[in-house]
Amino acid sequence: MSKGFGSKMKNISDTNLLLTITIVVFFLMYIGAMLFLGEGFLKPQALFNILNANAALIILSCGMSIVMITGGIDISVGGVTALISMCCAVYLDKAGGSVAVSVLIALLIGLGFGLVQGFLVAYLEIQPFIVSLAGMFFARGMTTIVNTEPFNVANEAFVALKNTRIIVPGMGSVNRLGNYVDAYVEIGVIVALLIVILLFCVLKWTKLGRNFYAVGGNSQSALMLGINVKRTKFIAHLLCGILAGVGGFVYFLHVGSGSPSHASGAEMNAIASSIIGGTMLTGGVGNIIGTFFGVLSLSTIQNIVSSAGLDQAWWTGITVAAMLCLFLVIQSVVMAARKKGNVK
């Protein structure tokens, strides 16, 4: 293992290098938490709880990663999630609609945002940040236009779906009353995992996926290499929009309510997760598996922070920002070091 490690390091691609860093960081952090904080981390359900709470974020981050791999960004995902939650909640609760249609609504809203933002970014060549900033404000504003008050959805079919649990065999534990409690995940986690696997395959084994990387690596070159750069960018934003739709519904399924303040800061968490997961802001480097672990790392660190007694609300925001800053620095340092090595 140690033999030829240096050369191995040199030959490993940027994407895989950053991915490795992320995974190592996550496992170190988690094991560290198990050893020193115990309690909450010592049962498998702890990990599943993290998954349950972050299924939506995983999906949103996947979309974000794809856009970031093409060199763009989309900060509207949080707003879109809130809008979807609110629309679905109003539809289910006040209009007494069916769950299937609400899924459709969620997807359509996501698709709509993806289409418009993708068009503006790819074909009108407007900065993605401005476009999605406007998208974010629009979505947040629309949410309060749809309904101003937060409320829980009482629709029975929906609540049943929300409370559906998928038992993970063999991972349960016995509580202090001596009862065996099954470990479980929510439906959203299954959706998130499927999406992670699907997108991993898309990015790895399809032309489209490779085009994302090419466009992000050097869009000028990509054009020269015969890739339709505009279309690729458009598809990336479209995918991100659709994933925001799916993620929005999964979020809604998890919280079971509509509120204008839902998913506040989700865009930041998604960006942070992607970056921690080894996606470069400059584009062309990133991995869905990394993003998945990015989300886990982020929420693990948040859990650690609160378990360690830093219980005040502000620590969450500061932790996320600090993690983001840290990983941005790590990225630039590692990349600079590699570049130096290569030039020599």
Binding site: D14, K207, Y213, S221, L225, R338
Partner: protein, 504 residues
């Protein structure tokens, strides 16, 4: 015409608004030859290549492939590639974040799925057959620049190309890398590929090429077998012998009288920067006009940039009037009384959206400092003065500089530096891309300034200009100073032979 011609271009015309870029150029490429396309900047090489690769559409003329049976229309880069015309540019146009194999196959294989195994196998086979030292699975950015260049070539070759265009592929490679590249080129030649090789390095031309086509000012000078064209002749053909009304402007101005014991205004020892030049020594006296000469890419601009602190200086000493000074940033140089008119006017010179007035006062304003701006009236007065002095043709001082013609933009930049009253002015290609009248104005101005005691370094691709203005020439080749010419040595022949080096 020749039977074995893979490509013939006949009577190609192309003009841009106000400029005739190509007028009636012919070009023939034969099967299995490496054909150098030579000419100084603005000669029309790149325009010709862009016409050939479909980036520009020609105004007039015909292009034939495979003898002259088949006339083709090339409207886009994609069409050119389909016809088997593949360009490889100086800047690598590959994606550094992808693997070698991907870079070779992306965007040109059918199907929606990526078959890694097959692609890697194919890529390895191709790399091996071309003897390129890279693995298919390696990330491109981990390869050296030469290998990246070769991979671009491999990609081009694999598209069943008949015409391979290499546009300055060697400018960022070291000697060994160049050697590897040449080996690949020879291999390809043996396979019958026609290669167009654009370069500024004479040695390389003589090492690898079979034939040379020389262009100048958008016209064809001629096509020669390599053995029929000695270096000196090549250089003279490239540079041409333009005779115009400037034959003797030297006499109009008295040269500055050097006083006894006067130290050089600036003196440089062993200076080198991160731009890849070898350490060099240099000095300039008060009232002297000297120049760096050499072909493009020989390092002449990099030398003056190092003096001005524009590149990151890695080592060497600078002395002003015998006293050492530290110059690490342009502002240091400016404080020492150096002015620098950069080579790339558009990129480094003008501040496009700003008015002519602001562009004129910019450098002086920086020197005066943050808290001492010119009042509106002062700025207007200065601007008007210099507009008149240099005869700048502009609607008003308020006009954005980007809407001026190239020559007038250059005069504005010149005015900017004259305003700072430098002791030493560096002019890097001040006459490039501007009309003859302005050229003469600028040359006269240089001599006038020198007669008033200013030291000037003048760099130009045009030999005549240099000879007319400079009293001493520093000759560069391959990023090294290779000679210094003064007095009676200052003539075309000696300059060319020094530039050419090697066989005389």
């Amino acid at each position: 015409m020749e039977d074995n011609a893979v490509l013939q271009m006949r009577n190609i015309h192309k003009s841009f608004p106000g400029v005739k870029a190509l007028s009636g150029v012919d070009f023939t490429l034969r099967k299995g030859e490496i054909h150098a396309l030579m000419g100084e900047n603005g000669a029309g090489k790149s325009t010709l290549i862009k016409v050939l690769t479909g980036v520009y559409t020609k105004d007039e003329g015909h292009i034939y492939l495979d003898g002259h049976e088949k006339e083709v229309q090339i409207r886009s880069p994609q069409e050119a590639q389909k016809l088997g015309i593949s360009p490889v540019y100086q800047e690598i146009t590959l994606c550094p974040n992808l693997s070698v194999a991907e870079n070779m196959y992306i965007g040109r294989t059918p199907g929606a799925m990526q078959n890694w195994r097959k692609m890697n196998k194919d890529a390895d086979k191709l790399l091996k057959s071309l003897d390129i030292p890279a693995k298919a699975t390696q990330q491109l950015s981990t390869c050296s620049l030469a290998v990246q260049q070769m991979i671009a070539i491999a990609r081009a070759v694999d598209t069943d190309c008949k015409v391979l265009i290499l546009d300055e592929p060697t400018s960022s490679l070291d000697e060994q890398e160049v050697e590897k590249l040449f080996k690949l080129m020879r291999d390809l030649r043996a396979r019958g590929v026609g290669i167009i090789f654009v370069t500024h390095f004479l040695d390389q031309v003589y090492e690898v090429c079979d034939r040379i086509t020389v262009m100048r000012d958008g016209c064809l000078v001629g096509e020669y077998e390599i053995k029929d064209l000695p270096r000196v002749q090549l250089v003279s053909k490239m540079l041409g012998k333009e005779l115009d009304d400037l034959s003797d402007i030297h006499g109009e101005y008295k040269s500055y009288e050097k006083k006894e014991g006067e130290l050089p205004v600036f003196e440089v020892e062993g200076l080198y920067s991160n731009a890849g030049i070898k350490p060099f020594d240099f000095h300039i006296d008060k009232g002297e006009v000297n120049g760096f000469t050499g072909l493009l890419g020989s390092g002449r601009s990099e030398c003056v940039r190092a003096i001005f602190g524009a590149d990151h200086v890695l080592g060497g000493k600078v002395k002003k009037n015998g006293k050492p000074v530290k110059i690490s940033k342009p502002i240091d140089a400016m404080r020492q009384g150096i002015g620098y008119l950069p080579e790339d006017r558009k990129r480094d010179g003008i501040v496009g959206d700003l008015s002519v007035r602001d562009n004129i006062i910019l450098a002086q304003q920086v020197l005066r400092g943050f808290l001492k701006p010119y009042s509106k009236a002062e700025a207007d007065k200065i601007a008007d003065e210099y507009i008149k002095l240099l005869n700048i043709k502009t609607a008003s001082a308020d006009t954005p500089i980007k809407s001026l013609s190239g020559g007038n933009q250059q005069k504005v930049i010149l005015a900017r530096w004259l305003l700072t009253h430098p002791e030493y002015l560096i002019l890097d290609e001040p006459t490039r891309g501007i009309d003859v009248g302005t050229k003469v104005d600028i040359q006269k101005l240089v001599l006038k300034l020198a007669s008033e005691g200013m030291s000037v370094t003048f760099i130009s691709s045009e030999m005549d200009e240099m000879l007319r203005t400079c009293s001493r020439l520093i000759v560069m080749r391959d990023r090294k100073v290779v000679g210094e010419l003064t007095g009676s040595d200052l003539n075309q022949t000696s300059i060319m032979s020094t530039i050419a080096g090697g066989d005389k």
